[in-house]
Symmetry: C2
Subunit: 237 residues, 2 copies
């Protein structure tokens, strides 16, 4: 790998930069206490995330027109409110709960690691999250992105090639000048097939204490690291 050729690091966000599961559970518990809702919020968070890929699949396969993630999350949320027998929430309370995904906390190393990496590289999101979600998340969590790109501006959800290729194109870069950073093997495989460099960052508890996938790099990625700090060291930042 020619490190000198890399100009931009393109980041998966959910699970790679932020700990969505713990954050959704925490916000659910807070809501539950204030509204007297007795729900297993761990199951609720997992059930919400379980609907993530199927909901995007409908857009990917053309069953639905382009729909941003906030709106897919909201459809799933309404189904979950029924399923978990949660009633009595006003529309603005449901909207606030839906935007829990705008208020996810970063992993402990994320802000310091990104800040170091930013000295040398252009840092952009290459996430399936929509722009508003990612801007609000970054503002709250101090994530120092140089630009918010990815699915919404490409109008294609990962792992469709357009999501990766249009992100590089918006930056005026070739895929080989970009390094995809993710905690998910499948995301890096998709990026690699298009010519991106790849960095796998292990996030062993993204899916909770019993996580069974993405515990290690299953392929020969350019870099494997345990944190963004180790990634910064390996990229000589």
């Amino acid at each position: 790998m020619d490190i000198e050729n890399i100009k931009a690091l393109t980041f998966d966000v959910f699970g790679t930069v932020v700990d969505w599961r713990t954050s959704i559970i925490r916000q659910g518990q807070t809501l539950g206490r204030s509204k007297g809702i007795d729900v297993d919020w761990e199951k609720f968070a997992d059930a919400w995330r379980a609907r993530y890929q199927p909901s995007m699949s409908k857009v990917r396969n053309g069953e639905m027109p382009w729909t941003k993630l906030d709106d897919l999350h909201r459809v799933s949320l309404h189904q979950l409110l029924d399923e978990f027998d949660i009633s009595g929430l006003a529309e603005d309370e449901i909207d606030y709960l839906n935007r829990a995904w705008h208020r996810l906390d970063p992993w402990p190393d994320s802000v310091e690691g990104l800040t170091r990496l930013k000295r040398k590289y252009i840092l952009v999101t290459l996430s399936n999250g929509n722009v508003a979600l990612l801007v609000n998340m970054a503002k709250r969590a101090n994530l120092p992105w140089d630009a918010i790109l990815g699915a919404e501006v490409a109008r294609h959800y990962k792992p469709q090639p357009e999501a990766y290729l249009m992100t590089a194109d918006y930056l005026g870069l070739q895929p080989g000048q970009c390094m995809m950073v993710a905690a998910h093997n499948h995301d890096l495989v998709a990026a690699s097939q298009l010519g991106f460099h790849t960095a796998f960052v292990c996030r062993l508890t993204e899916y909770g204490p019993n996580q069974s996938t993405d515990l290690k790099a299953d392929y020969d990625f350019d870099i494997v690291a345990d944190s963004f700090l180790e990634l910064a060291v390996k990229l000589e930042c």
Copy 2:
């Protein structure tokens, strides 16, 4: 004006945030010295900028398909090289000169003003510049944008309504939750007609010492300021 309702400031960039004319002249002079090119770089800069609106008009009126500003700049540059009788530049030197627009210097108050405004507001570009141009400019000049939006992601050049409305929509905001900041009356009029709040920032030498337009706010904008620092004070940042 209800200041409390404003969530995002959307910025014109060329002339409002950065001093394109002095920056292009400076870079032209540097090139001229190193390559022995004897040209009036003030005239060259003005001639390049004079082709800016006509080149975008061809995209706006459908005469050309969507073309990003880097590519419009390049077509104009090739015409100017002929017109100013400049020869002997290699393709990579022409490319570097074309990207002079990625290396524009901010006005003296821009970085400090934006940094103050960022504490309270989402700061985004709403420029006709393409994403790569604006990302590279921000990286070099330390412009602390929360997101790079505007013409390229909207696929429409200002003052077409889509450029403004899609920027607000990407942020998940209504136009009335956004304030357009610009040194140009026509830009603010277009934004205002769509429901944006407006702030006119005077840049008296954008077009050089003999500037004759945009010397003052010609309409009743919400805020008129002499600098981003005064804008920050008026927005209670």
